[in-house]
């Protein structure tokens, strides 16, 4: 089955040869990324900031579902926790926005780890069920009167856009973009290191051969919970940055459709692919705009069809398709007879 | 004598590993043929390949019709019954229900009752336990049930996988006696996989010896009994 092979396609240690081409490519990408806010309109900068935010969230989910094989349908809940943590800290406690990021990361790490402990003892389907329920219940929990003193209840919380630091020749939107970009780069580098090293190999071992992994001394439950926590941390940080960018948090923004969007980002970009995450983020940020012009329901119908189609046609998402295309180009190139 | 089942160049695969290599064998109509070999030789895999339960290539013909690549449920409907290793009984169903399911492919439901009674005649203990859950039966009783279930479909060819495994000798004797009787009275062809070489050679007309997925020896059972290599490795003298 195409899907099965796709999952196995993720190599244990991808030998990254530091081609000059690769380094130049990444640097070029960085230059473009940094230059973007200065050439794009204000609204586009905002959209790009959100793209980066989603990239971090999708990266978190991908580490869990793509690499570790644990199905989470409820990562929107952690996004919400991150967003509300930042909102509450900034508006009720006057904490500076940059401090709220690590705090919400830590909060989500703990909550994720605790949620993971019982849920991950069981097989994938039960985790999917539990996280589905979590996502469905999140807006209701956020609206609850008991905590509305903190959360603002149904009306939510408004956040004031932070000012750029003195002296820098950027406006608030551009600063926010660059701030987010910096954090995104850090998170990506950390993830890349994590996954290439022993931890990444352990995750793949647990995913593909759990019994062998346990026999070799990997403490599976603890490890899975830890991975869940880390994945939640990523999504929580994304939520914080997202809240600052949107300047508003409210319960209904964090419904199950958010969790499904994140999952879609993972699937479309490619399970287990880090570069694919960027594509997934671009996808879920910009496609609803286009599709939404047709009708309010259209984006979701498209998403649904795409989810199904991906499992058949492109189980490893864009990253897989890109890899296949590159491979066939290379093969075609080699087919030319030597002079 | 015509061949009811014929296999040539049969290969079987678990994943990408080839476990049966270019097997060629046949089961004559009305005969009992034994497939022998040590643990892991590929005997069970051969039966599963015939039934389409494992990926295979090559040619398998049943009564002249090629059956390679067909779905298990279609192959079975052609007149083959398979009693798998581990018996495959429907554990939470009663003895009667198991037999009823065995007759699933039969068009003539009216005959079913008399068939059930006939089988209860062969195995009276099953009649006693007819309303019991199959999972509560002993090993020997489950083997009788599995065999009966297979016979309910009135197959032309019966595939039996290790019927003696884990059973007391007296029970094994009983089962083999019934098999001999069914073969003699109804002319049912049997392909028997057995680790107990002595018993198998005693019951069968013809035998094949498998070693690590390949055919090592074949011939009439009486002769194989006297064959040097068989005696040394499998009969112990």
């Amino acid at each position: 089955m195409a899907f099965g092979n796709a999952m196995r396609h993720i190599p244990a240690t991808r030998p990254v040869v530091f081609h000059a081409r690769l380094i130049i490519g990444v640097l070029l990408l960085l230059v473009v990324a940094i230059a973007l806010p200065f050439v794009a309109s204000g609204y586009l900068v905002f959209q790009l900031t959100l793209t980066l935010v989603y990239a971090i969230a999708i990266l978190g989910l991908n580490m869990l579902t793509g690499y570790s094989g644990q199905i989470s349908l409820g990562h929107g809940a952690f996004y919400a926790i991150g967003a509300y943590t930042t909102a509450i800290l900034m508006t009720r406690f006057g904490v500076d926005y940059w401090w709220t990021i690590p705090i919400s990361g830590l909060t989500c790490l703990i909550v994720g780890f605790l949620f993971g402990l019982p849920a991950l003892r069981l097989e994938g389907l039960y985790l999917a069920l539990a996280t589905f329920a979590l996502a469905a219940a999140t807006p209701q929990i956020l609206k609850h009167n008991g905590i509305s003193a903190w959360t603002g209840g149904v009306q939510g919380i408004v956040i004031i856009k932070p000012d750029p630091p003195h002296g820098l020749p950027v406006n608030a939107d551009q600063w926010l973009y660059l701030f987010t970009l910096a954090i995104t780069i850090v998170m990506f580098v950390l993830a890349w290191n994590l996954l290439r090293g022993r931890i990444g190999r352990a995750m793949i071992a647990i995913r593909d051969h759990p019994i062998a992994a346990a026999a070799m001394g990997v403490n599976i439950s603890l490890f899975k919970s830890l991975m869940f926590g880390v994945s939640a941390l990523y999504t929580g940080i994304a939520g914080s940055l997202g809240a600052i960018a949107v300047q508003f948090v409210s319960p209904d923004a964090f419904n199950i459709l958010l969790s499904i969007s994140l999952l879609l980002g993972v699937v479309v970009g490619g399970l287990g692919s880090i570069p694919g995450v960027i594509f997934g983020a671009l996808f879920i940020e910009f496609v609803p705009d286009f599709a939404g012009q047709v009708s309010k329901a259209a984006p979701w119908a498209v998403y649904g069809l795409l989810l199904i189609a991906c499992m058949y046609v492109a189980p490893s998402g864009m990253a897989g398709l890109a890899r296949q295309t590159l491979a066939s180009i290379r093969k075609a190139g080699r087919a030319w007879p030597l002079a | 004598m015509t061949s009811l089942l014929e296999a040539s160049d049969l290969r079987a695969f678990y994943g990408s590993a080839e476990v049966l290599h270019q097997l060629a064998f046949s089961v004559g109509e009305g005969t009992i043929t034994a497939l022998l070999g040590a643990n892991g030789a590929g005997k069970t895999t051969t039966l599963r390949a015939i039934c389409g339960l494992v990926r295979s290539s090559g040619e398998v013909r049943f009564a002249g019709t090629p059956i390679g690549g067909r779905a298990t449920e279609d192959i079975v409907r052609l007149g083959i019954a398979h009693v798998p290793e581990g018996r495959g009984t429907f554990l939470s169903f009663t003895v009667e229900e198991n037999l009823q399911l065995g007759a699933h492919v039969r068009r003539d439901k009216s005959q079913r009752r008399s068939d059930v009674d006939r089988l209860y005649g062969y195995f009276p203990i099953l009649a006693e336990r007819r309303r019991q859950q199959a999972g509560t039966l002993s090993g020997g009783e489950q083997q009788m049930l599995a065999l009966s279930r297979a016979l309910m479909s009135r197959p032309r060819l019966l595939l039996l996988d290790e019927p003696s495994l884990g059973l007391a000798p007296i029970v094994v004797q009983e089962i083999f006696r019934i098999m001999r009787r069914i073969n003699a009275e109804e002319g049912m062809s049997i392909l028997l996989v057995e680790q107990n070489v002595n018993l198998a050679l005693g019951l069968s007309d013809h035998a094949y010896l498998l070693e690590t997925g390949r055919l090592a020896l074949s011939g009439p059972s009486k002769e194989l009994r006297k064959h040097e290599a068989v005696r040394r490795s499998y009969l112990g003298y």
Binding site: I71, I260 | S92
Partner: protein, 290 residues
């Protein structure tokens, strides 16, 4: 006492609906070891189909039966065409497809029928039976329909040949193949029956909570909780779980925590079951074979 009885009775009515949907989930789980996350949205879509038929002038009961038939067929086709090919792929693939189906049904319902809330007729008279103040006639009717359906299904599985065959295919697909049972068809039939159950659940609940594309999300969550509580592979457990949760939901809502935390209650129950006894009250223990 008045209020308590009322809560219990109407809890039984919604409980019956949870029971139907939970049973649908359990049936599919037993046959395929998968949970159909799209069951609620499919039921909602069936209800909209019924609504369209009734709106077009068809009397209630013919529309009811026609909806069941169409839902049955559509579900069987979906199973064969979209779900079955992924049977050997990792569970993640099937789960993603279920989510995809969820989105498709939800959004197409919204597209075709709009998101404005609609009323759905009840086939039962609106005057309460014997002028009682505990339970509406529709609620009695809903309980009755649910019980009738469950009885029909029980009889079907227990006493018919096809029912026996379907049970066998669910319990042991390999042995079933060996007796010639076309397992793929049986699974498709199972999906059809599950969809039929869902359609009835939708049509019974719509007069109470009104028809809108998102009406089944809460019901589905409670159905999940009921199925898990009873044991995800146990149909009796699902039914018992469904009725119990209907009552529990009402009592908790009326006397303890108010009506705004219904989903949260379902979540709490799901987590509780998974932590304390994942196999549910009546299910077989979830052992992963080493």
């Amino acid at each position: 006492m008045n209020g308590l009885l009322h809560q219990v009775f109407s809890g039984l009515a919604t409980g019956g609906i949870y029971a139907s949907l939970a049973l649908a989930l359990v049936m599919i789980y037993r046959a395929t070891e998968l949970v159909n996350f799209a069951q609620g949205e499919m039921a909602m879509f069936s209800t909209y189909l019924a609504w369209s038929m009734i709106n077009a002038g068809l009397p209630y009961w013919p529309a009811f039966l026609l909806t069941i038939g169409v839902s049955f067929l559509a579900a069987a086709v979906i199973q064969l065409a979209i779900i079955r090919p992924l049977a050997n792929a990792p569970i993640l693939a099937s789960v993603i497809v279920f989510i995809g189906l969820l989105l498709v049904f939800n959004s197409i319902a919204g597209w075709i029928f709009s998101y404005t809330i609609k009323t759905f007729p009840s086939p039962f008279p609106s005057e309460p039976l014997w002028a009682n103040s505990y339970i509406s006639t529709h609620e009695v009717g809903a309980i009755g329909v649910t019980l009738a359906l469950l009885a029909i299904l029980f009889a079907f599985f227990r006493w018919t040949e096809l029912g026996l065959t379907m049970r066998a295919a669910a319990e042991n697909p390999v042995s079933s193949r060996l007796v010639g049972i076309r397992v793929a068809r049986m699974v498709a039939l199972g999906w059809g029956l599950a969809a039929a159950l869902g359609a009835v659940a939708g049509m019974m609940v719509a007069p109470i909570i009104f028809l809108d594309p998102n009406m089944m999300s809460g019901v589905l969550l409670y159905a999940f909780a009921a199925a898990l509580l009873g044991g995800i592979d146990n149909p009796w457990g699902a039914v018992l779980g469904g009725f119990s949760l209907g009552i529990v939901e009402n009592l908790l809502g009326a006397y303890l925590i108010g009506t705004e935390l219904k989903m949260t209650v379902a979540l709490a129950i799901i987590i509780l079951v998974l932590v304390v006894k994942p196999s549910g009250v009546f299910g077989r223990t979830v052992l992963t074979r080493v």
